[in-house]
């Protein structure tokens, strides 16, 4: 308090502090009203039952008990993880291959063409992408099954079988996001010094060895970055399953965010929706901590 008083009695320091708060005020006001306030409200709401028509009833920890005993929620989390982990692994794998191919000696205009064609779906809205793929994956009339038919594969019911519909979501999502992974990997590859490859070439290594012992270890920080933000985003997947399958058949493609949406804005269980949302926050936070903790074992910093 005295330190603050001393600061404020010095006119130069006072101008600095006042300017700081003046500049910060729009962000701070918005931050309190639209982030901190709602987060606190969500915690409070989770201890109430409220459908926005009748007055809210205190529910104690009932919503949390329901959370732990909700048979649907467990399977929905499992489905979400299955889809999220598969998409992230596929994007990492395919993204790395394509980036390595792009990083070779090819014409500049060809490289630009490839980069643009891979990246473009990433800037298109998820709903437009999902609508396109809902036609492509149609069982009887879709292009995907027609091409599969050329190699003798029978028509697959992509969108209305609980076995195949998660795969339909995965394909659509990987196709949309792949370009982002490619571009980030290409950026990572460009930071690797050419000297290392030359030295390894002089030592008689082949291409595959150079990839395994130089490229891959030096890309591990990039892989960590992509898997952390990739998993956070993938667990929150909503638009693709919402447009492609509406979560069905049954709960086969229902993700946690879809469940929150339905609880909150279809059934108006505001308390339970907040509780599930808070559980999602805890899960995302835990996943991120886990990834960083594990990263010490496999990420190589130069």
């Amino acid at each position: 308090m005295t330190a603050l008083a001393r600061t404020m009695s010095n006119p130069l320091r006072r101008a600095e502090v006042l300017t700081a708060y003046l500049f910060l005020s729009p962000t701070l006001i918005g931050f309190v009203v639209f982030i901190v306030g709602p987060v606190i409200a969500a915690v409070v709401l989770s201890t109430y039952n409220w459908n926005m028509i009748n007055p809210a009833e205190p529910a104690g920890l009932n919503n949390y008990k329901q959370l732990l005993s909700d048979p649907r929620l467990g399977s929905i989390y499992l489905t979400t993880f299955k889809i999220a982990v598969s998409t992230v692994l596929l994007k990492l794998f395919l993204g790395l291959i394509i980036a390595v191919l792009l990083d070779t000696k090819i014409h500049n205009w060809l490289r630009t063409f490839f980069r643009l064609s891979f990246f473009f779906p990433f800037v298109v809205s998820a709903t437009a992408v999902a609508l396109i793929w809902s036609f492509l994956l149609n069982k009887d009339l879709g292009m995907v099954n027609w091409f599969l038919g050329l190699v003798g594969i029978q028509r697959i019911p992509w969108l209305n079988s609980s076995t195949w519909s998660p795969l339909a979501i995965i394909i659509t999502d990987v196709w949309k996001d792949l370009g982002f992974y490619v571009v980030v990997f290409v950026g990572g590859l460009q930071t690797i010094s050419g000297d290392l490859y030359e030295a390894a070439e002089v030592d008689g290594s082949n291409r595959f060895q150079r990839f395994l012992y130089i490229t891959l270890p030096l890309l591990t920080p990039t892989i960590l970055f992509l898997s952390v933000i990739g998993l956070i985003n993938a667990v929150q997947i909503f638009a693709q399953p919402w447009v492609l399958t509406m979560g069905g058949p049954g709960d086969a493609t229902r993700t946690v965010v879809m469940y929150i949406f339905e609880q909150g804005f279809r059934f108006f269980n505001m308390g339970y929706a907040s509780t599930v949302a808070l559980s999602l926050f805890v899960v995302l936070f835990g996943l991120t901590i886990l990834q960083f903790a594990f990263s010490r074992r496999w990420v190589f910093y130069q």
């Binding site: 962000t27 639209f34 609508l131 792949l178």
Partner: protein, 295 residues
Amino acid sequence: MSADTTIRSAEDVLPKVARRPVRVHWDAILTVILLLWGSAIMIAPFAWIMQVAFSSAARAYQMPPQFFPSSITLQNFANVFQDVPYLNFIRNSFFVAAAITVGQLITCPMAAYPFARLRFPGKNVLFIVLLATLMIPVQVTIVPLFIFMRQTGLYNTHWSIILPALISPFGVFLLRQYFMTIPTELEDAARIDGASYITIFWRIIVPLSMPAMMTLGIITFVFWWNEYFTPLIMLHDPELQVLPVGLTLLQGRYSAGAVGNVAAGVTMAVIPILIVFLLLQRNIIKSIASTGLKG
């Protein structure tokens, strides 16, 4: 012994250099063929949907799949404009995304400047609290925000989307990191000449940070132009709806038949993005790749 190996390896190297162009050439051809297949898989769905949009209904599901229309009809587009307020969707999307982008380009640099340059009580605590909220998913705050918007009468107006998005802890962090890289000499000189903090911010920091501001502007606009979750919750009237939600309204009405109408709607949504993307591709790709937009 050592002299011996040196000579032998030198002999090995010489023929290798002579052989190399041919081998690399084959590698390059294989690489290009693989990449061409890859980009065909990325482009074909767009080509097909545009072909459907410009064709009569009979051609939509013709097999083998067609990627170019044989005869052009604009009937599907006319149907879209007749059945949904498509121009409204575009106008609404543009208004929401532009308002949020402008807002963040004002609030974020203003907040980033004190964090990067000024000394004030509570600086570190505030910064850490701001960063910590980056981990909170939008689903946690959306239920209370929905209730808030219902009670303030802002529900079903564009402001229910715009107001909460006018500030961005992520944007503040992004710009603060950039401001930290600007050398302080210019500011020191300006201080000696008696410039105020506001002058320094406006005349030195902002002009020197245009690349970072551009990055923030691009990712903010792209994100909100494509955003689906928030408008789906906050808006009710079709006339007020944004494009990503509006497109699904087409699907709702025609899930039974008129593929062409959905295709026309999607085509009109994709073509403007394609044009802007081709014009600004370098900036867009660099901005998104350097910051990890999405979410």
